[in-house]
């Protein structure tokens, strides 16, 4: 038990250090720094990946509806946080918005989650009877339907039709993103370590045995689907804040695949893996590999071959293939990062060295 407590404390210290670093970046980094846009995106997609992991990695339900739930969250958040005096301007093509109030950020975020969760509940009733690939196809279809529906002219006064929504509350500071993402992921971790989480894992491992133990399969699958979608909705709202503009065209299937990629690279069934992978994925695709897209000339004036628009994605895709080939389990597999175990490992190496040294003296 004490051992377990030490592990938790060490991990909390790590989380504290990360939060401190983010606050420091917020305070001292120049406003043009890439850290801002990258970390905002990392926080958003870390949450999206962790919520997908709850479903795919911990409950064993292969769902590809993430883009749909994120869209619902993003639209809910954006529509509810536009200042009242800006509304007629944003919704100018449709006369005026049907909603005439502005919600505070936190309330709108929670509501974004609830709307996504509500739709997940409705969709889950029929769809969760399906298994593996069929479930993936059905949820993928749902995401496309949602994307089509919000663009309808008749929903214009609510969703602004195909036109983007903007002017809503969009905080700039990374600390806000880190806090939303951190609190949400913390709740998911608590969930996974609870009895419910254990039941989810049991269903993933063996449905028939889980049923024989008296676990209600339909009820638990539904629960996992709804919770995962709730946090997906919040991630969607965060994505709206990142982009400062919401438009249905950005919630494509390829975004779902990106999230899936983050989950796979990090390790299916590892929360810390998803977070690390989200950082590596978005930092390298948006920042570290950016130079590959620029046409570069050597000092002699000749053009460096291959470098140019689009080349970044070639290199990036090759890197992903290498990761999937050589780390078949992803970066973390199903393990979680543990500072305490790391310290113990380093300590044991040192202790062994000292013991060896002692021997050679004698």
């Amino acid at each position: 038990m004490w051992e377990k407590n030490k592990r938790t404390i060490c991990n909390l210290i790590l989380v504290g250090i990360i939060i401190l670093l983010m606050i420091l970046i917020d305070l001292f980094a120049p406003s043009t720094s890439m850290w801002f846009s990258v970390l905002r995106k990392v926080c958003t997609f870390a949450l999206a990946a962790v919520s997908m992991n709850l479903l795919n990695g911990f409950t064993g339900l292969f769902s590809l509806g993430q883009a749909g739930f994120m869209l619902l969250g993003a639209y809910t958040y954006a529509i509810l946080t536009i200042p009242v005096n800006m509304r007629s301007n944003v919704f100018r093509n449709y006369g005026d918005s049907v909603i005439h109030f502005q919600m505070p950020l936190v309330a709108a975020l929670i509501l974004a989650g609830i709307v996504a969760a509500f739709f997940a509940f409705l969709i889950g009733l029929p769809v969760l009877r399906l298994k593996s690939d069929y479930l993936a196809i059905a949820t993928l279809g749902f995401a496309e339907i949602v994307r089509g529906l919000v663009q309808l002219q008749s929903f214009g006064p609510v969703t602004n039709g195909p036109d983007p929504i903007n002017m809503f509350t969009a905080p700039k500071s990374i600390t806000v993103y880190a806090a939303i993402s951190g609190i949400s992921i913390f709740i998911i971790v608590l969930m996974i370590n609870s009895t419910y989480g254990r039941a989810f894992k049991a269903i993933r491992d063996d449905e028939i045995a889980a049923e024989a133990m008296g676990i209600n399969l339909a009820h638990h699958k539904q629960l996992s689907f709804v919770i995962s979608s709730f946090f997906c909705g919040i991630a969607g709202a965060m994505m709206a804040m990142c982009n400062t503009s919401v438009s249905s065209v950005s919630f494509t299937t390829s975004m779902t695949y990106q999230i899936l990629l983050v989950v796979v690279i990090g390790g299916i069934g590892s929360i810390s893996g998803s977070i690390i992978a989200a950082f590596i994925f978005y930092a390298s695709s948006e920042w570290w590999l950016k130079f590959l897209d620029l046409e570069t000339y050597t000092k002699a004036g000749s053009k460096v071959p291959l470098l140019g628009p689009g080349f970044r994605m070639v290199v990036f895709s090759i890197l992903i293939m290498i990761i999937v080939l050589f780390f078949r389990q992803g970066i973390m597999g199903t393990r979680e990062i543990s500072v305490y175990d790391g310290i113990m490992k380093i300590k044991s190496v040192f202790v062994k060295d000292r013991a060896k040294g002692g021997e050679s003296h004698e």
Binding site: R204, D205, M213
Partner: protein, 240 residues
């Protein structure tokens, strides 16, 4: 209350037009070990799955302590005090041994520490490995875990589907002696076996099932000495 903890009356189960279980009736006396033997595909597993609510029978009656439990969900049936140790062990490979045991007690709201220490007393090996993931256990240990997990729901009736499947003879002996211990501690056992010899030696009463019908029944040692059973399930070598 009658002596029978479980009574099955004219049970019929179909799988897409194929009759798997045909008008089977059988009784399980409280506090006894009852075994069903028979070849592959005779319908033994289907009977157990019907009792635990995983398979829906066409018609018939399943009475547990005098109450009809047919049509209840697996969840409700586990709550009533029936657990199934499924065929092929089916432990949760990525959960630790302790987590597996806790899953067995999933529906219990009361404190189950006593049952946990009871299971650890029965299977000291499981306590040594409580932090190991179940997938890393040997076949015999996994079977012990499957039995221990079922015991965690503190059942009145435990049903075991082929507990000796794919295990070494020595391990099989261990498992059967554990089954006897569990029974002596007051839990009724309904056992399915292909290892007819071992099963009939252990049980109080046995049924022989062939293609969905009961063809013979009797006390364990009577069946063990029956010429037809010997020929069909025990092999000729016993005559020599």
């Amino acid at each position: 209350m009658s002596d029978n903890i479980l009574e099955i009356k004219t049970l019929n189960v179909r799988f897409g037009g194929i009759l798997a279980v045909n008008d089977i009736s059988l009784d399980v006396r409280r506090g006894k070990i009852v075994t069903l033997i028979g070849a592959n595909g005779a319908g033994k597993s289907t009977i157990l799955r019907s009792v635990s609510g995983i398979v829906k029978p066409v018609h018939g009656e399943i009475l547990f302590e005098g109450e009809n439990i047919m049509g209840l969900t697996p969840e409700q049936i586990v709550k009533k005090g029936i657990t199934l140790v499924p065929e092929g062990r089916r432990v949760f490979p990525n959960l630790t041994v302790l987590e597996n045991l806790k899953m067995g007690a999933y529906l219990r709201k009361d404190n189950y520490d006593n049952d946990l220490s009871y299971v650890y007393r029965l299977f000291p090996r499981l306590e040594e490995r409580s932090w190991q993931s179940a997938g890393t256990l040997s076949g015999g240990e996994q079977q012990m875990l499957a039995v221990g997990r079922a015991l965690m729901s503190s059942p009145k009736l435990i049903m075991m589907d082929e507990p000796s499947l794919g295990l070494a003879p020595l391990v099989v002996r261990d498992i059967f002696s554990i089954i006897r211990t569990i029974n002596e501690n007051g839990i009724t056992v309904l056992l399915i076996e292909q290892n007819a010899n071992m099963a009939l030696k252990t049980c109080d009463y046995g049924y022989v099932i062939e293609t969905g019908n009961i063809t013979m029944q009797g006390e364990g040692d009577k069946l063990l000495n029956d010429e037809r059973v010997k020929e069909a399930y025990l092999g000729k070598s016993r005559n020599g």
